[in-house]
């Protein structure tokens, strides 16, 4: 039998991407954490214990299929990992950066609960989606068929944009109205650039 790529939490400790020094962080609006290298992301994803009842997923408001995309990442199947991830979330790179994972998925991770340290779910999610952008896997929506119905969305924040994404995929005509001069809502104007790389 081939070696199981997962459940490596017994031998591999939790490891976040490198945290930049506070003295350097003070000087710019870049992110706090550096990026995972390919090998590191694989290694950290392989710590997942593939729970039958994944509490990370239960406690994610989007019910992201976290164990599935962790496994695909550990196996180096990143394009598929991205496809699974974006199936439940239009903006995984944003959630990977600004979700309070300690109160959601990571806080409820079973290996965290058992004292091994959580799988670094947010950092892996960010890594998968950044890789998808770099490789051109994130493509504009092309609906199977256009529909005649039209929806007006008031507000171009994350809620409005997520709805627009889903409706447009179904071929609905979508118009978003926003009183500001740029879309994104608070993601654009209130979240400091240091919390994410303006990737919306």
């Amino acid at each position: 039998m081939a070696e199981n790529p997962m459940l490596k939490f017994v031998s591999t400790p939790r490891d976040m991407p490198e945290k930049r020094e506070a003295t350097i962080r003070r000087e710019d609006f870049h992110e706090i954490y550096a990026e995972y290298a390919d090998q590191k992301a694989k290694e950290q994803a392989s710590r997942c214990s593939q729970c039958g009842v994944p509490y990370c997923q239960t406690h994610c408001p989007l019910h992201n299929n976290i164990p599935d995309w962790l496994k695909l990442t550990a196996e180096g199947r990143l394009k598929e990992a991205y496809e699974v991830s974006q199936e439940t979330n239009a903006f995984p790179e944003i959630c990977g950066r600004i979700c309070p994972q300690d109160r959601l998925c990571e806080g409820n991770c079973v290996i965290e609960q058992s004292g091994h340290g959580t799988v670094t779910i947010g950092s892996v999610e960010k890594y998968i989606t950044d890789t998808a952008w770099e490789n051109g896997w994130v493509q504009p929506i092309v609906p199977h068929a256009e529909r005649t119905e039209s929806v007006g969305i008031i507000g171009a924040g994350p809620g409005g944009l997520a709805a627009a994404d889903r409706l447009r995929r179904a071929g609905v005509q979508v118009t978003i109205y926003d009183r500001y001069d740029r879309a994104g809502g608070l993601l654009t104007y209130a979240f400091p650039a240091s919390s994410w790389k303006r990737t919306l």
């Binding site: 989007l62 889903r166 009183r179």
Partner: protein
Amino acid sequence: MRRNDQLEKGGVEFVLNCNVGEDITFDELQAKHDAILIATGVYKSRELDAPGVGAEGIVRAIDYLTASNRKSFGDEVPEFDAGLLDAENKRVVVIGGGDTAMDCVRTAIRQGAESVKCLYRRDKANMPGSQREVQNAEEEGVEFVWLSAPKGFTGDEVEGVMVQKMRLGAPDATGRQVPELIEGSDYVEGADLVIKALGFEPEDLPKLWGVDGLEVTRWGTVKADFKTHATNVPGVYAAGDIVRGASLVVWAIRDGREAADAILDQFAGAAQVAAE
């Protein structure tokens, strides 16, 4: 920004600089579309009622953060250039203990503030913001002053915050301990810029948009079905903070997706009726 670009390339039309109620009426929107989704978020800043709060140099968190972000886009921001919304070389006091307060303290550090203090009337264990963020901010040199509330402000251009020390008293009906004043414990903390980050509330949408029929709760949030996100007005849905009150981005995404599904169900139902 690439997500917006992608949506636009995928056929989503963006109408920016368009304020519903001013540039277009809600009735016009209803006439134009088969369904409407209200996803405005909550933007009204909660205000402070304390003597001297009108002084120059006491600003709202949303204005402060927006100015900083606009600068990073290369926009002209006169209030920033005049120094009003710039923390450089200033003693900054941020009031509040939520995620917005965390964003303010860390932005002030990056703008080169002389010092940054964060006042919160409860203690660290009882703050709404993320503990991880507190740790990051402390590493960067932010000082948290727990169990402290602003009693008033000194100066016409702000010079200081009168700080009132608090203690946690008996729990209220929600089980959360209520902060109480400690008499005679106040002192003045010097400040050149005070940022109010006390939370956000919904704007009065029925009034702003002239839709009296739209049902809201006593907090002013829009009343919507928990599953379908449908409001009491047929064909009008609502999602995100405007229904929940200020919450996480991830919950807004969830609500937006669910509302989209409910709208698709509405269309499917209508198509069925038409076919029969």
